[in-house]
């Protein structure tokens, strides 16, 4: 049964239009390897996908004790403030992937999504000095620090307020006994 009595040329035109729209909307993101490469780059250079990376995944422990994590976080936080008003609000054992899922940090690729990390949230008077020329330093009264639970390396620091939600903190937590 024919629902539409369209001529073949109309069908072809509509099909082509749909295909072009599809390319325009989603094509740019569909596969980085298809994106053009800058001039002068090696002929075989392609942009890798995150899935191509071999990243450290879950270690299974042992994890740094929370007191040690607090010390690392306070040292990191001290680099963003000249004041002595920093307080730790929460220390949560979670995973790198959950921090991305909950919008605490953007995707980053130094560790895999299953890697166990500590999230430390702090209050204080913070100033981020890295900036685009002409832009004032960014000030914040609340920061999140991501620390690799096995190595103690600080992976990221940011100002998302997502972690001010108790529901988000609960969703992040993968262990009992964290603060």
């Amino acid at each position: 049964m024919r629902i539409f009595n369209w001529k073949p040329s109309v069908v072809l035109f509509v099909g082509l239009a749909v295909a072009l729209v599809g390319v325009g909307v989603g094509g740019a993101a569909s596969h980085q390897a298809m994106l053009p490469m800058p001039k002068g780059t090696p002929d075989d250079a392609v942009l890798l996908e995150p899935s191509d990376l071999d990243l450290p995944e879950a270690s299974g422990g042992p994890y740094l004790p929370p007191d040690r994590v607090r010390g690392i976080a306070l040292n990191v936080a001290a680099s963003y403030t000249a004041k002595n008003d920093v307080t730790i609000e929460a220390v949560v054992l979670t995973t790198h992937g959950k921090l991305i899922e909950q919008g605490v940090f953007s995707p980053s690729f130094s560790v895999g999504e299953s890697r166990e990390v500590y999230l430390v949230t702090l209050r204080g008077s913070f100033i981020f000095t890295r900036r685009l020329a002409g832009h004032p330093p960014f000030e914040a009264d609340y920061i999140n620090i991501e620390i690799d639970a096995s190595t103690g390396i600080d992976l990221a620091t940011g100002t998302s307020k997502a972690t001010q939600s108790e529901e988000v903190l609960a969703a992040l937590n993968i262990a009992s006994g964290t603060e």
Partner: protein, 226 residues
């Protein structure tokens, strides 16, 4: 502090750019950068060899660093939102760390990410790229490997390449960013800065300065301090 290298039509645009780049106080850090401004782009690329490790002094700041960076402004704004990727000596509270990193200033927050890739030796060449990969996402790459994804809208209208320093006494070693290119949104092709349709400028916060080594192609520059 800022001056145009190549005059382009549109005195108003030029004056506005100078206003934005000069009148906002240059607090906290010093820049020596080349700008490519007022384009319509979906990506930026530059490469440079590792310099001799910078010397970063630990002054009253606990966040002292000396960095060679590419900044890509997003959201169609000249100043306000960006993705940056680069090489830094000094990371947070440790001035001895020599590492790649990326950072983002979005419409809702700011964040900095350490990149766990080997920096290599002096003279090793690395490429730095930030490209729109669809769905309001920009991906930052080092040596064509993704290091982070930032949710921000296109297009990019400004790209900076150069150095950022916390303390004016920090020692910069000469670097030569090259092959600086932008991805044209309309043609989908990469163009060297000179062919990109943008306005080429520079910002130097004394005592640092950016020196165009090849003004014909804007291929080479350096950040320099005796």
């Amino acid at each position: 502090m800022s001056r145009t290298i190549r005059r382009t039509p549109g005195a108003v645009v030029l004056l506005l750019t100078v206003f934005v780049l000069v009148t906002i106080p240059a607090e906290a850090t010093y820049h020596a950068v080349g700008h490519n401004v007022y384009g319509d782009w979906l990506g930026a690329y530059a490469e440079w060899p590792n310099p001799q490790e910078y010397y970063t002094y630990d002054t009253s700041s606990n966040n002292d660093f000396t960095a060679q960076v590419m900044w890509v402004a997003t959201e169609g704004a000249v100043n306000g939102y960006w993705v940056e990727v680069g090489l830094t000596k000094g990371w947070k509270d440790d001035t001895s760390i020599w590492t790649f990193y990326w950072a983002e200033m979005t419409t809702s927050s700011y964040a900095e990410y350490r990149v766990d890739m080997p920096v290599g030796a002096k003279g090793d060449n690395h490429s730095y790229q930030v490209q729109y990969t669809g769905y309001n996402e920009w991906t930052a790459y080092i040596d064509f490997q993704p290091v982070g994804i930032s949710a921000q809208a296109p297009p990019c209208v400004r790209v900076d390449v150069g150095a950022e320093v916390v303390y004016s006494g920090n020692m910069l070693t000469t670097t030569y960013p090259q092959h600086m290119q932008v991805l044209d949104r309309n043609t989908g092709t990469w163009e060297y800065w000179k062919d990109s349709g943008g306005t080429i400028m520079e910002t130097d916060d004394p005592p640092f300065h950016w020196e165009w080594r090849d003004p014909g192609t804007y291929k080479l520059g350096k950040d320099f301090k005796l």
